[in-house]
Structure formats: structure tokens, C-alpha cells
Subunit: 216 residues, 2 copies
DNA sequence: CCTCAAAACATAGCAACGTTATGTATTGTG
DNA sequence: CACAATACATAACGTTGCTATGTTTTGAGG
């Protein structure tokens, strides 16, 4: 005999958690179920406890990120697309900074790592396209370059979304990715233009040029 | 009339917090003072509450980082020194990962940002030396390049120390910094050698070459 | 050398947290 | 229909950060 839990309740709780998170209010067991009609036990039947709920919220974060990345429509310029993926990554992190923080806060378990892997694979495909089109050298390892691009994106997202860097620091993404892709074999001036195009498409107000860093 | 608090008690509590953090045990008000002879009120007289304690722990983290960075002895090769600073940054983050996480976890206030600024200034001076020695172009803004190097370092530290990337991913630091410094005007092969030298000095077992990324 | 107010500190208690125990309703299956 | 496992509500428990209250200690002024 298999009792199936109501998926609507599960989504409801996750959404409420994400909503509470975005409102910068503490996500507590009792605040979650308040007003929903369900009792605190629901969190235990559906998630096994608060840890399980946080894991589900983390998954939700990666799912939303995947949606954002999937919305990046490939063009004839694979380097632009790569920069656009980076911009989409940052755009997502800045849209839901607390959710982004939760995604990378706790120690990663296998399930979380798998979700992160999907993000990485998206970048790997982007690098492969650029390599196939001749923009990058043949000897660049797509996984390596994708990981390095991810490192740059995550560093920027972390330092800007919940860290000491101001929003204008997002513009550092352009020279960072340009340096990386130029080093991978792309023509410097062409690379710069491609990256700027891809970056501007999602972060139009932060792509002109980097300005000051932390405070003063 | 001015009562002066005992600085030793303050340091004791901060050290115990860092120690508890490193032991991956929950840092609670009562676990902090247990066995020290002081009562829970000490945390309030010295720090004004747990928030104040966490802020002090964060400061301690930046102080330890500053010590690590100051231990990097300048050589005749400013690009090597820059890479060595990056390696020291990562070495510190991996030595005390939970402390590093606390440093960048909470929303930054002014005091934290000032501490982070010291870290950045250290990098700025390194870039200025490289520019003065002719390795970098004259038109590179030291603050910009330092911020970008920091972004790379923090991204790597965050993804490796508490994230999904394995320790071997530290090796990505070499190509990342090489790309960045080459883009700043340094000669590619010379840059690579300098970065590898600086990197190896503090992370000898993770500088040969990047391997796989997340899981599989 | 007192006096006395302020600071430092201990004890006890509070509300809120995550969790668990217990009992009841609901569901699917034989 | 009957039975057993799931879903769920209520109530309680231990622990958390914090505060209220009383006591001790400190340092400056008369």
C-alpha cells in the first residue's frame, strides 16, 4: 500500500520558504506553516525535518538557475553565448540573493552536487560550441574552461550579492571572461566585443566598464 | 568613571568560537562559556550578544588572513608574488574553511567591509609593483585588477572549501591568474612560469595542472 | 579612607526554535 | 468490509538567544 503525498503541499512549503527568504525574514518551522492550514508535522512528513526542507530549497534554487540559463538563446556567436550564460548566472544570483546564498551555504551532499553539475554541464556545452566553431584552440578542455568560468561567475556573484562589492563591480565580469576566453585562443578584440554583447543582453546597466571596488 | 573590560576574556571567547567552528560543532552561547568560568552574560558585556560575537569572529578571520598574506615575502618577481598572495589566500581558506565561510556569510556591515578592504589593498600593492616593474601595461588600474584577482580567489575558495569542487580544483588558480595577468600585459610564457612559481610555494600539491571538476 | 555610582557578572527565567511523542483521521488494499 | 500504514494535529520536551534582577567589583571624588 502506497500513500502518495500531495505534491501541491510540497511546492507550497518550498515556495513559502523561498518567499520568506526573499523577504529577508527568518524561515522558521512555525512561520512556514502559519496561515497554510497545515501543521508543523507537514514539514516532517514531506521533508523529514528542516534540513530536508533546506535541501529542497537548494534544489529549487538550482532549478530556477537552470531555467534562467536555458532561456539564453544560442546565437551564431558562441563566445557571446558563453558571456550571456555568465550574465544569466549573475542575473539570477542578484534577483534572489538569499536563495543563491542558501544554494552554496551548507556543505554539499551528493544530491546538491548533482544539481550543481547540471549548471556546469550547461557551461561545458557552451565551451564545446566555441571550440567547435574554431574560436577556441582544440586543446582546451571544455570542462576545465567551464569550471574556470563558473569560478569567476560564482566569485562575482558571491562578492556582489552577499559580499562587500557594490553592484557596479558586476562589470568586472567582462574583462574577467575576456581574459579567460582570449587565453583559450580567441582573438582579443573579437572576444571583447562578443563578451560585451553577451553581457549587455542581461546586465545592460553593468557592462560598460568596471568602477571602484569595495568601500573607500 | 571608566571600567575597562578584560581583553583576555574577549580573546578567549573568540578563540573558543573559532575552535568550536573548526571542530564543526555548533557554536552556541552556552557551549561557548561552558568550562571557562565565565557566565553567559560575558558574551553580552563583551560583544553585546551573539551578533556581536559573530562580527568579532569575522574580524578575527580577516586578521588571520592578513597575517597569512603578510607572510608572503616579496621577491624580485612581482607576478610570482601576486600568485603567491592568491595561494596564501586559498591556503588560509582551506585551513579554516568554516571561519572563511563565516567571514563571507552574513550581510557585510561597514566594519567588515573595512577589514575586507585591507585584504584588497594588499593585492593592490602587489599589482602596483608589477606595473611599476613593467610587467603589466601602464593603463591597468591596480584596483580593478586586484579586485578581479580577488574575485577569482574567492570564487575558487568558496567552491572548493565549502562547495562542490574537489581540492584538486585548486589547480585552476594557475590558468585563471595566468589569463588575467597575461591580459594585463605580461608575457604569456613568462607569466605562466611566474604564476606557477608563486602558486607552488604555498600549494605545492595542487599546482601541477587542473583535473576534473565537480562529481561525475 | 570612606562614599557611591557605574560597570561587570551570576542566576533565573522567558519566548521561540526544531524536534518528538502520542493520538486521531484518512487512505489504499486484500 | 476490515485492516494496516500513511497523513496529520496537538501537545510537550530540550535547547537556543536573550533579558530581568540582584550581587559583587571597580575607580573616581570628597
Amino acid at each position: 500500500m502506497v500513500r502518495v503525498k500531495d505534491p501541491a503541499v510540497r511546492s507550497l512549503l518550498i515556495d513559502r520558504a523561498a518567499q520568506t527568504l526573499a523577504a529577508r525574514e527568518p524561515v522558521t518551522l512555525r512561520s512556514l506553516v502559519a496561515g497554510t492550514g497545515v501543521s508543523t508535522m507537514a514539514v516532517y512528513t514531506y521533508f523529514g525535518g528542516m534540513d530536508g526542507l533546506w535541501k529542497a530549497v537548494r534544489q529549487e534554487g538550482f532549478t530556477r538557475l537552470a531555467v534562467r540559463l536555458a532561456e539564453v538563446s544560442p546565437s551564431a556567436d558562441p563566445v557571446r553565448d558563453l558571456a550571456a550564460l555568465g550574465a544569466a548566472y549573475l542575473s539570477n544570483a542578484l534577483a534572489v540573493p538569499d536563495l543563491y546564498r542558501v544554494m552554496f551555504d551548507a556543505a554539499f551532499d551528493l544530491e546538491d552536487a548533482a544539481a550543481a553539475d547540471d549548471t556546469l554541464h550547461c557551461l561545458v556545452r557552451g565551451v564545446e560550441r566555441a571550440t567547435a566553431s574554431g574560436r577556441f584552440r582544440d586543446d582546451v578542455d571544455p570542462l576545465e574552461l567551464a569550471t574556470q568560468s563558473w569560478t569567476v561567475g560564482h566569485g562575482l556573484a558571491s562578492l556582489v550579492a552577499t559580499g562587500p562589492l557594490p553592484r557596479q563591480a558586476l562589470a568586472h565580469g567582462v574583462p574577467l571572461l575576456t581574459a579567460l576566453f582570449t587565453d583559450a585562443g580567441d582573438d582579443p578584440v573579437r572576444c571583447r566585443r562578443s563578451v560585451e554583447r553577451g553581457w549587455h543582453d542581461l546586465l545592460p546597466d553593468h557592462g560598460s566598464g568596471p568602477s571602484g571596488a569595495a568601500s573607500g
